[in-house]
C-alpha cells in the first residue's frame, strides 16, 4: 500500500453520515462558482524543479506565505493548537468535538501537502515561521458560535482560492487544488452546520446575528484591496485567474445566500471594512 493509500484508508475509516461535509455539498453539483480569467495573458506552466522567473518566484512565495498551512510553519501549528483549546473548552456536544478532531486531522493533511510544495520550491522556505498576518485569524473567539463563523467564513475563503488554483500555472498547486478546495469547503460546511444548530434556539440566533457583525467584514477583507497593485501580476503569471474584487463578489454572493437561508440579516458590506 502506498503512503497516499494509507492516508486515504485512514480518511475512509473516519467517514460518518456527516463527515466529510464536502460529500453532501458536492452531491447536487458544483457548489462553487467558475472563476474564469477575462483578460488576455501569456500561457505559463512551471513544474517542480523548473527554473522560475524572479518575479514569478516572489509572487508564488508570497502566496504560499499567506496560505500558511505548512508542517514547517510553527505558527500554523500554534493556530491549530488554539482550535484544540477551543474544542476542549467550549464544545457543545461530543459529536461536535469529534467533528473538530476530524477537521484538525484534515488540516494537518494539508500541512503535509503544502510542505511538499514548499520543499520542492525552496528548501529554506519549508521551515520558515510565518504568523498569520490578517486580522481575521486573530479575532477573539469566545463562544462556539465564533468558532463556527471562523470555519464557515475563513475556511470558505480557502476553498475559493483553491478553486482559483485549478488553472494555476504552477503545476504542483494545480494538482492539489481539487483536494484542498473540497476539504476547505467541507470545513466551511462544518461551521455552517454548527451555526444552524445554534440558530435553532432564539437566544442562539440572537447571538449569531450579533457576532455576524464581527466576522462578516473580516471575511470580506480577507480578499484584500480591490485596487491591489499585485493582482494584475498574479493574473498575468497565471497564479490567479481573477482579481480581488471579482473573487470577493463571488464569495459574498455565496455567503449571503447561506446567511439568508439561516434567517439572518446580512450586514452592510461596507460596515467596519478595512480593505476596500
Amino acid at each position: 500500500m502506498s503512503e497516499l493509500d494509507v492516508i486515504r484508508d485512514a480518511e475512509e475509516r473516519g467517514r460518518t453520515d456527516l463527515w466529510p461535509f464536502w460529500r453532501r455539498a458536492y452531491a447536487d453539483g458544483d457548489p462553487l462558482p467558475t472563476l474564469t480569467c477575462q483578460v488576455s495573458r501569456p500561457r505559463h506552466r512551471f513544474d517542480e524543479g523548473d527554473a522560475l522567473p524572479d518575479e514569478y518566484r516572489g509572487l508564488l512565495l508570497k502566496m504560499l506565505r499567506h496560505e500558511g498551512e505548512r508542517a514547517g510553519n510553527k505558527s500554523f501549528l500554534g493556530f491549530m493548537a488554539t482550535c484544540l483549546d477551543l474544542a476542549e473548552a467550549l464544545f457543545p456536544t461530543q459529536e461536535m468535538k469529534l467533528l473538530k478532531a476530524e477537521y484538525l486531522a484534515e488540516e494537518l493533511k494539508h500541512a503535509i501537502m503544502f510542505h511538499r510544495v514548499a520543499v520542492g520550491l525552496q528548501h529554506d522556505f519549508a521551515l520558515r515561521d510565518v504568523p498569520y498576518a490578517h486580522y481575521a485569524f486573530h479575532l477573539p473567539r469566545e463562544t462556539w458560535a465564533d468558532d463556527a463563523f471562523f470555519h464557515f467564513l475563513v475556511d470558505l475563503n480557502g476553498a475559493f482560492h483553491a478553486r482559483d488554483w485549478r488553472e494555476s500555472s504552477y503545476v504542483p498547486l494545480a494538482k492539489m487544488s481539487a483536494t484542498v478546495e473540497r476539504d476547505e469547503l467541507g470545513h466551511s460546511e462544518m461551521g455552517y452546520y454548527f451555526l444552524a444548530h445554534i440558530c435553532r434556539e432564539r437566544a442562539g440566533k440572537a447571538l449569531v446575528q450579533h457576532l455576524l457583525g464581527k466576522w462578516y467584514p473580516a471575511a470580506l477583507d480577507m480578499f484584500g484591496r480591490s485596487d491591489s497593485p499585485n493582482a494584475p501580476k498574479f493574473i498575468q503569471w497565471g497564479l490567479k485567474s481573477v482579481d480581488n474584487a471579482e473573487i470577493r463578489q463571488h464569495y459574498k454572493a455565496y455567503v449571503d445566500r447561506k446567511l439568508v437561508a439561516l434567517g439572518l440579516e446580512v450586514p452592510d458590506e461596507r460596515r467596519h471594512r478595512r480593505f476596500l
Partner: protein
C-alpha cells in the same frame, strides 16, 4: 488568504493609516488586555509562540476563548464594546456571571437595556 496583508493600508476606525506587520505587537497586546480588563476578562500569557492568548474569566479563572495579537489598532476596544450587550445579558461570558456583574457596574442603564432587549430571545416560548 490574499496577497494583501504585507504593505496593505487598512483603515482603522480612527481613520489612521497603518501597515500590517508580522512582527510582535506589544501595543496591540496591551490594548487587548485593557479592553478585556474592563469587562472582567483577563488576557492570559501567550498560549502559542507569542501569537495567541487565552481569555480567562477574571472571576473564576475559567477559559473563555482566545485572541490573536494581529488585531488592527483600535479594533480590540471596539469589538469588546460592541459585545457589551452580550456580556450584560449573559449570552456571552462565563457561566459564573462575572462579566454580567462587571458590565452592570460599568453602565447599569445600558446593561439593563441589554437584558430587556435579549429577554425575549431567552424566553423559550
Amino acid at each position: 488568504m490574499s496577497d494583501e496583508p504585507d504593505g496593505a493600508r487598512p483603515t482603522s476606525f480612527a481613520g489612521t493609516i497603518r501597515a500590517v506587520s508580522t512582527a510582535p505587537t506589544p501595543d496591540i497586546v496591551e490594548e487587548i488586555r485593557h479592553a478585556y480588563d474592563r469587562v472582567g476578562i483577563t488576557l492570559d500569557r501567550p498560549a502559542t509562540y507569542g501569537t495567541y492568548y487565552r481569555l480567562l474569566c477574571a472571576g473564576c479563572g475559567r477559559m473563555l476563548g482566545n485572541v490573536g495579537d494581529k488585531l488592527l489598532p483600535g479594533m480590540a476596544s471596539t469589538l469588546v464594546d460592541e459585545q457589551f450587550e452580550l456580556y450584560a445579558s449573559g449570552l456571552l461570558g462565563c457561566a459564573c456571571g462575572h462579566q454580567r456583574v462587571v458590565t452592570t457596574g460599568i453602565d447599569p442603564a445600558r446593561a439593563e437595556a441589554a437584558r430587556a432587549r435579549y429577554a425575549d430571545a431567552r424566553d423559550p416560548s
